[in-house]
C-alpha cells in the first residue's frame, strides 16, 4: 500500500510517501510560511522525486488536529479532496499523537503539547504499550496549570514533546522538577513519515465528505451563543438551496 501523509497543524509543513513501512521520501519545511502556498508544491515535488503518480496513492493520511485552525484546514481539505476525487482511502491521525510517536524507546508517559494561547495548551497523554502508541488521556484543550497539577499527582517520569514546550519549560520544571524530561529539536518537529506509519494500521474514515479537523475548541461566537441558546437543531445550519 502506498501512503501519502501530510501535516500542516502548526508552523512546519511535512509530507511523506510510504510503501507500507518503507519510507520512500519525506520533506519537512520549518519556517514561517503560508501553508496554502507550500503544501501542494511540496507534494508535487515529493511525487516527482519518487517518480510516483498521484493516482498510484492508495491512502491519504492527514494530521487532523488539534493545531492552528487555518493550518489544519489546508491539509485536511487537501487530503479529503484527494481521497474523495481519486476514490482512495483517507485516515485522520491526531496531530499530538504524531509528535508523541517521535519519542520511541521509552515506556514512560509522553505529553505532546501545542500552545493554545491565554496560558492554555492542546495536549494529550500517550504511552508505548507492546510496540503500539496508546492514548492514556485523550487530546484536550486545558490550562497548563491544570495539566501540570494532574501530571504531578501521577508522580511518574513524563516526556514533553513539541516546539512550544520550550516556551513553558520553566513552569513545567517548577511543578514537576526531575520528573520532567525534554527531547531533542528533531523530536519536537512533526515528521510526516511517522504520520504515515501511524496511518498504515488506522481505520479509514467512512464518511469522507463529513471529515473535518478536530479543533477541540468551539469558536468564541458559538461558545457565547450556547450560553443563552438551546443548541438542538445544529444539523440544519447549512443547507443546499
Amino acid at each position: 500500500m502506498k501512503l501519502l501523509a501530510m501535516d500542516t497543524s502548526n508552523q512546519a509543513v511535512s509530507v511523506a510517501l510510504l510503501e507500507n513501512h518503507q519510507i520512500l521520501g519525506e520533506m519537512t519545511v520549518n519556517i514561517r510560511q503560508t501553508h496554502s502556498q507550500t503544501l501542494l508544491p511540496m507534494i508535487d515535488q515529493l511525487l516527482k522525486q519518487t517518480k510516483t503518480a498521484i493516482e498510484a496513492i492508495d491512502r491519504f493520511v492527514v494530521a487532523e488536529g488539534p493545531g492552528s485552525y487555518t493550518g489544519l484546514r489546508i491539509a485536511v481539505t487537501t487530503a479529503k479532496s484527494f481521497a474523495w476525487t481519486l476514490n482512495k482511502s483517507l485516515v485522520g491521525i491526531s496531530s499530538l499523537a504524531l509528535l508523541a510517536a517521535n519519542v520511541t524507546d521509552t515506556t514512560a508517559l509522553i505529553v505532546p503539547l501545542f500552545d493554545a494561547r491565554r496560558a492554555n495548551v492542546f495536549t494529550g497523554v500517550y504511552q508505548w504499550q507492546n510496540g503500539t502508541l496508546q492514548t492514556v488521556v485523550a487530546d484536550q484543550h486545558i490550562s497548563l496549570e491544570a495539566l501540570l497539577a494532574q501530571l504531578q499527582l501521577l508522580a511518574e517520569p513524563v516526556y514533553f514533546v513539541g516546539n512550544d514546550v520550550a516556551h513553558f519549560s520553566e513552569q513545567i520544571q517548577a511543578v514537576l522538577g526531575s520528573k520532567a524530561y525534554f527531547v531533542s529539536a528533531n523530536h519536537n518537529l512533526p515528521h510526516a513519515s511517522v504520520l504515515g506509519e501511524l496511518g498504515l494500521t488506522a481505520e479509514p474514515i467512512t464518511d469522507i465528505h463529513g471529515f473535518a479537523p478536530v479543533y477541540l475548541r468551539k469558536t468564541e461566537a458559538e461558545v457565547n451563543w450556547v450560553k443563552t441558546h438551546d443548541e438542538r437543531g445544529a444539523d440544519s445550519y447549512v443547507e443546499q438551496v
Binding site: 496554502s36 508535487d44 481539505t77 487537501t78 484527494f82 451563543w225 443547507e239
Partner: protein, 342 residues
C-alpha cells in the same frame, strides 16, 4: 471526431456560501450547487469568519460531487477547474482554493483563478451576450463600485464607496429596526409598503465624481430612530425603510446614469447581492426609460445575484481564452481588487 465541449468546474467559497458549478462555454449552467450557511450566521447577527471556514470544509466535496452528478459529467469531460481566490474572507476563500487545487492536480486539469467581483459581473452572461465597452454597478455587503469594462475580462473601477458598502448599510439599519440578518430583503419589502417621508440625505450627489458614501445616511437613520425612542414616539418602520431605500436607490441610480452617459456604453450590468433589491431594479429601469439613452439594463436572475459557482465559471471562460492559469502555489487574496482607472 466531434469537437470537445468546454466544461469548467467552478468553485466559490469567499463568504458564507459553498458553491460548485459545471458551466459549458461560459453561459450554459449544467449544475450550480449552493450550500448556504445563512441560518448558522443568523445566530450571531452576521458572518463569523471562523464559523464560515469550518462549514466550508464540511461542504466542499459533497457540493462538488452533487455538481458533477447533476451535470452528468466526469473528470475526463472537464476542460479546466476554476476558483474564486479573492476578494473575501481569507479562511473561507482558502477552502475553495485548496480543494480546487487538489482536484485540478489529481486530474491534471488547468487551474483558473477568478476574481469574485468579475464573477458577479459575468453572472449577467447567463442572461445574454455581453457587449463592450460596458458599465457594471457592483453592489453587495462588501462592495459598492462602478466598474468600466473596455473589453472582455478587463475591469477598471471608476467609482467606489468612501465608507460603508450599500449592503452593509442595509444590515446596519436592519439591526436598528430589529430585522434579522441579512436585512436587505425585508427592508426592501417594508420599503414597498411605506412612503419616503423622512427625507434622509443623498450623499455626494452634487459632486462631480462617481464615488458613493452611505455612512451619513446610516447615521441620520439611526439618529432619527433614537431620537423618537427618547421622546417616546413610534415611527413607521415601513416609512423608515422606504425613506432609507429611496436615498440609496437615488444615489446609486444617479451616479450610475452619470457614468453611463460619460462613457457612452450600451449595456449596464447590475450585479452582487443588492442587485436582488426590487427598489434598485425599479429605480434603474425608470431612470433609463426617462433618459434619452439607448442603455440595455442586464440584471442576473435572483439565484445568480448572490454568491454562486456558476458566475465563477462564466468569468473563468474569459480567463481560459486568455490562458490565465495559476500554478500549485495559488493562495487566497482577501483584498483582491480591480485596478482604478488612471
Amino acid at each position: 471526431m466531434s469537437e470537445k465541449r468546454e466544461l469548467i468546474l467552478a468553485f466559490e467559497s469567499s463568504c458564507d456560501e459553498t458553491s460548485v458549478a459545471v458551466i459549458e462555454d461560459g453561459h450554459v449552467i449544467l449544475s450550480n450547487i449552493i450550500a448556504t450557511q445563512i441560518k448558522s450566521h443568523q445566530r450571531f447577527g452576521g458572518v463569523v469568519p471562523e464559523v464560515a471556514s469550518r462549514h466550508h470544509v464540511e461542504q466542499i466535496t459533497v457540493c462538488t460531487q452533487a455538481a458533477l452528478e447533476e451535470a452528468g459529467v466526469t473528470y475526463a469531460d472537464l476542460t479546466a477547474v476554476a476558483v474564486t481566490y479573492g476578494p473575501g474572507l481569507v479562511g473561507a476563500l482558502l477552502i475553495g482554493v485548496t480543494a480546487a487545487k487538489a482536484i485540478a492536480y489529481a486530474h491534471h486539469l488547468p487551474l483558473i483563478p477568478v476574481n469574485h467581483m468579475a464573477g458577479h459581473i459575468y453572472a449577467a452572461r447567463f442572461v445574454k451576450p455581453l457587449e463592450y465597452p460596458l458599465l457594471a454597478l457592483l453592489v453587495s455587503g462588501g462592495h459598492t463600485e462602478l466598474v468600466y469594462m473596455p473589453a472582455a475580462g478587463e475591469f477598471e473601477i471608476i467609482g467606489d464607496t468612501r465608507d460603508d458598502a450599500a449592503g452593509e448599510a442595509y444590515d446596519k439599519i436592519g439591526r436598528v429596526l430589529g430585522v434579522q440578518y441579512p436585512a436587505g430583503k425585508e427592508i426592501d419589502r417594508l420599503a414597498h409598503l411605506g412612503q419616503d417621508t423622512f427625507d434622509f440625505p443623498r450623499a455626494m450627489l452634487k459632486e462631480a465624481n462617481l464615488d458613493f458614501s452611505f455612512s451619513g445616511l446610516k447615521s441620520a437613520f439611526i439618529n432619527t430612530v433614537h431620537h423618537a425612542d427618547q421622546i417616546g414616539a413610534t415611527l413607521s418602520h415601513e416609512d423608515l425603510a422606504a425613506s432609507f431605500q429611496a436615498s440609496v436607490v437615488e444615489v446609486l441610480t444617479t451616479k450610475t446614469m452619470h457614468a453611463a452617459r460619460q462613457l457612452n456604453v450600451r449595456q449596464l450590468v447590475v450585479a452582487g447581492g443588492v442587485a436582488a433589491n426590487q427598489g434598485l431594479r425599479e429605480g434603474l429601469a425608470k431612470a433609463i426609460k426617462a433618459s434619452d439613452m439607448d442603455l440595455d439594463l442586464i440584471i442576473p436572475p435572483l439565484r445568480l445575484c448572490g454568491d454562486n459557482g456558476a458566475m465563477v465559471g462564466a468569468a473563468a471562460h474569459i480567463e481560459l481564452q486568455k490562458q490565465h492559469f495559476a500554478d500549485l502555489s495559488l493562495n487566497a487574496v482577501p483584498g483582491l481588487d480591480f485596478p482604478y482607472r488612471g
